[in-house]
Symmetry: C2
Subunit: 256 residues, 2 copies
């Protein structure tokens, strides 16, 4: 017999991906109880009340929140998170609750319509919760990627860590160049304009979101160092004006 997952509480449900997930579930007919700083409902009250408890708070406070409310989520219920790293939150959830556990990472921002977007799912404990999570994302027409938490975090060290690190580095380089942003804007190629737009979008978001992706996923540092190392390999080619070596590198990146 399957378990009943009809009441879903979301800590951090009044903003960002928590709010997105609340809307997503409400469209499917679930009773959703979002908890935020200004809601009367507290995380603990919600954890006692709901069949599914979702953690969607910033990475640095995720473990702490799991420790606080995990013990209130009873057996035969489901504790899950929406964090961009998976290993540590899963370990914490397994340690601090007897409920079923699933780790989830939607690989996109809070978009109006997430059809066709991807979501990574890591199994924790139990099958009913996992089945339910897969069902709701299936119903919403998302692409589900089941993976190991360790593997997820390694991939995200590259996909999120290096990505945001290199974009922030470009912003830092522009700011350190001595050019005004007006000069740069005025003379941008169409390709560079797209990178500027990405920088502006990134800098609009909370600092700790990116700080956490770089710092709290221990795999990020490995790939950031790899990025630094390959750049250091490329620089002498330019210093030596070595067109042949550049061509060889370029072809190797093409897989030739």
């Amino acid at each position: 017999m399957g378990l009943s997952f009809s009441k879903v509480g979301i800590v951090g449900g009044t903003g960002g991906m928590g709010e997105w997930f609340a809307n997503f579930l409400e469209k499917q007919g679930y009773d959703v109880y979002p908890v935020g700083r200004s809601t009367e409902l507290t995380p603990k009250m919600m954890a006692r009340l709901c069949d599914v408890v979702v953690i969607s708070v910033p990475i640095p406070v995720t473990i702490q929140m799991i420790q606080t409310i995990g013990p209130f989520v009873k057996e035969r219920r489901l504790l899950m998170d929406l964090t961009s790293i998976k290993q540590k939150p899963l370990e914490a959830m397994l340690a601090h609750t007897d409920a079923e556990v699933v780790g989830v990472h939607p690989l996109f921002g809070p978009v109006e319509n997430a059809e066709g977007q991807r979501v990574a799912i890591c199994q924790g404990r139990g099958n009913s919760g996992l089945k339910w999570v897969k069902k709701v994302f299936d119903t919403g027409k998302l692409k589900i990627l089941e993976m190991e938490p360790k593997e997820h975090d390694r991939l995200m060290g590259l996909i999120q860590g290096v990505n945001h690190f290199s974009t922030l580095g470009l912003a830092h380089c522009i700011r350190s160049s001595g050019f005004s942003i007006d000069e740069i804007e005025k003379c941008s190629t169409s390709t560079f304009k797209r990178r500027l737009d990405r920088i502006y979008k990134l800098l609009e978001q909370p600092a700790d979101l990116f700080g956490s992706l770089l710092i709290d996923n221990p795999e990020s540092l490995n790939y950031i160092r790899l990025y630094r190392d390959v750049l250091n390999e490329m620089i002498p080619i330019i210093e030596n004006k070595d067109h042949d070596a550049f061509q060889k590198l370029f072809y190797s990146l093409r897989g030739e």
Copy 2:
């Protein structure tokens, strides 16, 4: 009395931006004579014949082409180029012809409709040629940026040099990570997917195009080194898990 610029010859006029410029001018009613590897018309013949001679060959052979045909472009005519660097081609044009000289760099790729796109123009010698160049781009509704060649190359060292260098570095990092491109593709966030698309587009193009932007614009190396330096400044913040320092850096990039 203005000079007559009705017959326009383009070396490299059968591909890339040369072909784009040929179509652009033909739409405005000019007689255009494209020269390529497979045309019967040779660069020298064309240079004798035309009122405007446009150099649109890869950067590494641009100076050589200017030296070869510059002397055949007569006084009261116009020699111009479409190269992504401006200082060296301008110096070469001024040295190897008595004609009027203008340096041009369209800040976009060969697009169907270039309305609203930007084009950098550097004055070389004479006013009639410059006036003509500005008129044709004005008529095509492009945004004209008049600038010094040295300033242009400095800006492009950042806008093209660091941009392509960091993108190639990301491609190199992905290839060196041990992940297969299928794994990466499958788990990409929407932001990372856009960077992958840019990598694929870049690697489709000729290797020497990017090699030249990085190597033959001497300003590129300066900004590539600056990029390396700011990354090396950022890495200890991550190594030390210093959320406060990260936040400070993030706010400073926002201009706060």
